[in-house]
């Protein structure tokens, strides 16, 4: 059960194979085995969202996902090459203070933008706040993160 296995997955568009214990956290696979340290550990128990990544398009807490659950999956992290719109919005709006929540927030905002870019109406304030409610920030009071999300959505619209 706990014997290491050959985990095959796609990370940021590149096929990767790593030999890991089946219950190793995806967070550790990314940070330690694949040296993708952009994904952060804030609590290790699924409460802060700093370790958010996409697994097959779903935003998940990578500290709660075991290696054996992502066999053959498509994983996207903050190091993915196609997040420039959201990252630029954070830079311009001052969305990052200490920055430890920022990688997770960038992905949460990307999920929000993906969901809302094609819709015919603007999200209201509660819909926007709800989209980011799985990611905690201790620095900003969320104001400038919300501003970053609005800017990113505006620019993603056709």
């Amino acid at each position: 059960m706990s014997e290491p296995f050959e985990l095959e997955l796609t990370v940021n568009g590149t096929p990767r194979t790593v030999r890991v214990a089946p219950l190793r956290r995806l967070l550790d696979v990314l940070r330690e085995d694949l040296a993708l340290t952009g994904t952060k550990e804030g609590c290790g128990e699924g409460e802060c969202g700093a370790c958010s990544v996409f697994v097959d398009g779903e935003l998940v807490n990578s500290c709660l996902v075991a290696a054996c659950q992502v066999e053959g999956c498509d994983v996207r992290t903050v190091e993915a090459p196609d997040l420039g719109n959201v990252q630029a919005a954070f830079l311009e709006e001052g969305g990052a203070q200490c920055g430890i929540c920022t990688p997770g927030m960038v992905l949460a905002v990307q999920a929000f933008v993906d969901e809302w870019a094609a819709r015919g109406r603007e999200p209201d304030d509660v819909e926007l706040r709800a989209a980011l409610a799985g990611n905690l920030c201790r620095c900003t009071g969320y104001e400038k993160i919300l501003a970053s999300a609005r800017t990113a959505l505006r620019r993603a619209r056709p």
Partner: protein, 797 residues
């Protein structure tokens, strides 16, 4: 040290700033947004071991024996250390060294560190912790500060620095300015009330982390999530008995601190010693639960206040008695005890003032400095009582704050020098933006507005350990490529201090913003700075940066004037170019100007320093709380109270903050928003407390109830620029002041909404419902008056 004397408050070249005042991007913004920024936990070294700490399950106990032999025998375990290996006590305040990295003889709270293990991985280290046998002899645990005050035995600390401790009293300060009793006797109204502040903690999203490596030549390098690199350097030298020149401390990118990473922590000493013992790099990352137990958060305080006022609203005197629950160690407690009284003497004029503050030890996680160190709790009590004074006298709560304004260029009753003071402007802004005049008292039952004012220090002239050297130092290096590298010991903890330094250099030397590199918080590379506490970096490091730049600028201008054979006053360095102001066609890129200067003066570099002027009252403790400049803040908070559930929502808060000059308005607004959020969060949701066994009530972010984006309302940040004569270009602090007023403004808004005075934090739904139930019953003081107000509001509805 002459920095403050020679730069003035205006733009360096003429009337207009080019860089300062612009909402420029953070120096590390892109690295953070792309995940490239490196934090302590991102440091991975070949052969690195992982360390874990064994913690006490008892709140107070004698250690009878420790047997680590079984742990050491486990495969993959490289070393185990205990208190016997690190016997030297330390403490961030040099007068109160009462901590050991690992407990010696006894433990003082659940979570106190007992032993540390280095192993090949975290799982092995955790297994080793389970294999360590510790025999304890439990002692009576003090969990109530009143009991600790009244009961001298058993002592939590018998002696500190060779001096016996009196019972369980950590620090007592009693100061009186003017004759308070006479002032109260001469008042038309005297209110007396009891207030309490529960505990709260910083909870930065990055847990504490440290990595140590010992090189072949014996140099110990420590990467740590500290906000005060210099103190960690000193403490390591002291505890490890290692010469300071054999230690290098580096603060990588830091994932939030808020005061919670100001003390030297056990993990820093443990990884250092374990690296020495094993010859391999060692990392320790605390779990979220460990961060809660490490704490150093806001002290619980029980406060009695008396305030006397004339019928026109003018305060005659204020009298405070405060019991401070310090938890198990001193930490910054000596300063906290002073701050609990010393920082209340603005923005209002107190003709007389007395405070009597006692900090006691209890067997709980140690308290320390959290954003607004020591002064947030008294500010809550006073501003709520002051609101009640206004109500009793029939004066508008904003108006009574205007009436008592102390003015600028003045001195407080306790001898603090006030320079600029933009408090009236702050009041005007929040009054207007919140629609105070039209809406207060007119909102339906359950909704209300409240106001509060506050002040805070821009650094302090009490430098923690006394010495005659500068508090802040800067080194500059000019490169022929046109790049300027600035070396600062200042700790950028997310507040953006490196960005401020970069902006000042770009402004002063006229180089492009992104041609300035900032190297910070590395004790081998950077001159000493006292770190990120007391809201000192923008003010002190900013002044030191200007000082360093002016020296280099003089050389560049002189060299260019000689080369062009013009008066040096005609030379300007701006926006990446040097030019002759009377013949603008005569211009070169700053890079070429640097080369001309280097040819003339040899290799180019400079240093700059800042130290505070002599400040403070002429009495024991008079320098604690003395600052070269004070910031001022006004808050208006709007609440929506659900009287069925007791849930209080804050749909909007307005905060106007006098930061002197906003060197970067985006950063200043970010500090105002973050501070206001943090205050409202600890007032409404968060609580750091222990149960009857000394166990933390909820050592996780969920149980601690840290707010999500859905729990926070709109925060409107407004900047007031009073242009302080002492600050860099007139700047003052912005990182802590804007927290203070948020909590009492919330309490005052709840009173406006439902007519009850809440004097005891936190304002949980249960507290609110109880207060509503008791309304009109046995409520204290003005409760009778407030019931009347509530009744009339109900009728109006």
């Amino acid at each position: 040290m002459a920095a403050r004397d020679n730069h003035g408050t205006g733009a360096p070249w003429d009337d207009a700033f080019r860089v300062v005042g612009q909402p420029l991007r953070k120096v590390d913004g892109l690295a953070k947004a792309t995940g490239q920024a490196l934090y302590a936990d991102d440091v991975q070294l070949p052969g690195m071991l992982h360390a874990k700490i064994l913690r006490s399950p008892h709140a107070h106990a004698r250690i009878v024996s420790i047997d680590a032999s079984a742990a050491l025998a486990l495969p993959g375990v490289h070393a185990v250390i205990t208190g016997a290996d690190l016997p030297i006590r330390y403490g961030v305040i040099p007068w109160t060294p009462d901590e050991n990295a690992l407990a010696v003889d006894k433990v003082r709270f659940v979570g106190d560190e007992v032993a540390a293990v280095a192993a090949v991985d975290e799982d092995t280290a955790n297994a080793a912790l389970d294999a360590i046998e510790v025999e304890y002899e439990p002692l009576h645990a003090f969990l109530d500060p009143r009991e600790a005050l009244a009961t001298p035995e058993p002592q939590i600390h018998a002696d500190i620095r060779g001096k016996p401790v009196r019972g369980n009293v950590s620090k007592h300060v009693e100061l009186e300015f003017g004759d308070v009793e006479a002032a109260l006797a001469g008042a038309d109204l005297v209110l007396e009330g009891e207030y309490s502040f529960h505990g709260s903690t910083h909870a930065p999203i990055e847990p504490h982390c440290a990595v140590a490596q010992v090189s072949a030549d014996g140099l110990l390098t420590l990467w740590s999530s500290t906000q005060i690199t210099h103190y960690v350097h000193r403490a390591l030298a002291q505890v490890l008995e290692l010469a300071p020149e054999r230690i290098r401390v580096i603060q990588p990118c830091l994932g939030g601190a808020f005061g919670g990473k100001s003390d030297p922590f056990a993990l820093e000493f443990c990884v250092a010693l374990l690296a020495q013992r094993t010859g391999r790099p060692v990392k320790m990352l605390w779990t979220r639960e460990e961060v809660f137990y490490a704490h150093r958060g806001r002290h619980p305080m029980q406060m009695q206040y008396r305030c006397g006022a004339k019928s026109n609203g003018r305060i005659t005197g204020v009298d405070a008695r405060i019991l401070i629950d310090g938890g198990s160690y001193s930490s910054f407690g000596l300063v906290t005890t002073y701050y609990s009284g010393q920082l209340l003497t603005g923005p209002y004029d107190f003709p007389s003032y007395r405070f009597d503050s006692t900090r006691v030890f209890t067997n709980k996680p140690p308290c320390g400095p959290k954003r607004g160190h020591g002064s947030v709790q008294p500010r809550f009590a006073f501003e709520v009582q002051f609101d009640e004074v206004a109500e009793r006298l029939g004066i508008d709560p904003i108006e009574i704050r205007r009436v008592n304004f102390q003015g600028d260029d003045t001195q407080t009753v306790n001898g603090q020098r006030i320079t600029s003071n933009g408090f009236l402007r702050c009041l005007d802004l929040v009054e207007e933006a919140s629609g105070w005049k039209q809406r207060r008292g007119q909102l339906p039952y359950g909704r209300g507005l409240g106001v509060a004012g506050s002040m805070y220090i821009s650094g302090t002239n009490y430098p923690v350990y006394p010495n005659d050297m500068p508090q802040a130092g800067i080194q500059l290096k000019l490169d022929r490529s046109g790049v300027v590298t600035v070396f600062t010991g200042g700790n950028d903890i997310g507040q953006g201090s490196n960005t401020v330094v970069r902006s000042i250099v770009a402004e002063e030397l006229g180089v492009a913003y992104d041609h300035v590199r900032v190297v910070a918080a590395d004790t081998d590379l950077c001159p000493v700075d006292l770190g990120a506490y007391s809201s000192r970096i923008t003010f002190m490091v900013g002044n030191a940066t200007i000082d360093a730049c002016r020296k280099l600028r003089h050389q560049i201008v002189t060299a260019l004037a000689e080369a062009w054979e013009v008066d040096p006053r005609r030379i300007r360095l701006m926006e990446g170019r040097a030019f002759d102001v009377e013949d603008p066609d005569r211009t070169v890129p700053t890079r070429e100007a640097f080369q001309v200067a280097e040819a003339r003066f040899d290799t180019l570099g400079s240093t700059g320093s800042y130290n505070t002027p002599q400040l403070g009252g002429d009495y024991r403790g008079g320098t604690i709380g003395a600052s070269p400049a004070y910031s001022f803040t006004a808050h208006v908070v709007e609440v929506d109270v659900d009287v069925e559930t007791g849930i209080v929502r804050v749909p909007a808060a307005w905060c106007a903050h006098d930061c002197g000059r906003a060197l970067n308005p985006t950063l200043v607004a970010g500090q105002i928003e973050g501070s206001t959020y943090m205050g409202l969060a600890e007032a409404l949701l968060e609580e750091h407390g222990v149960n009857r066994f000394g166990l933390h009530r909820g050592p996780s972010l969920l149980d601690y109830r840290m707010p999500t984006s859905l729990d926070v309302g709109d925060i409107h940040a407004m900047i007031v620029e009073s242009v302080d004569p002492e600050g860099p270009y007139g700047a003052k602090e912005a990182g802590e002041g804007p927290l203070h007023g948020s909590i009492p403004a919330l309490a005052n808004a709840i009173h406006d909404a439902i007519g009850v005075r809440l004097r005891h934090l936190p304002f949980t739904p249960g507290t609110v419902l109880r207060a509503l139930r008791d309304q009109g019953g046995k409520g204290e003081g003005a409760a009778v008056g407030s019931t009347a107000a509530a009744t009339s509001k109900r009728e109006a509805r």
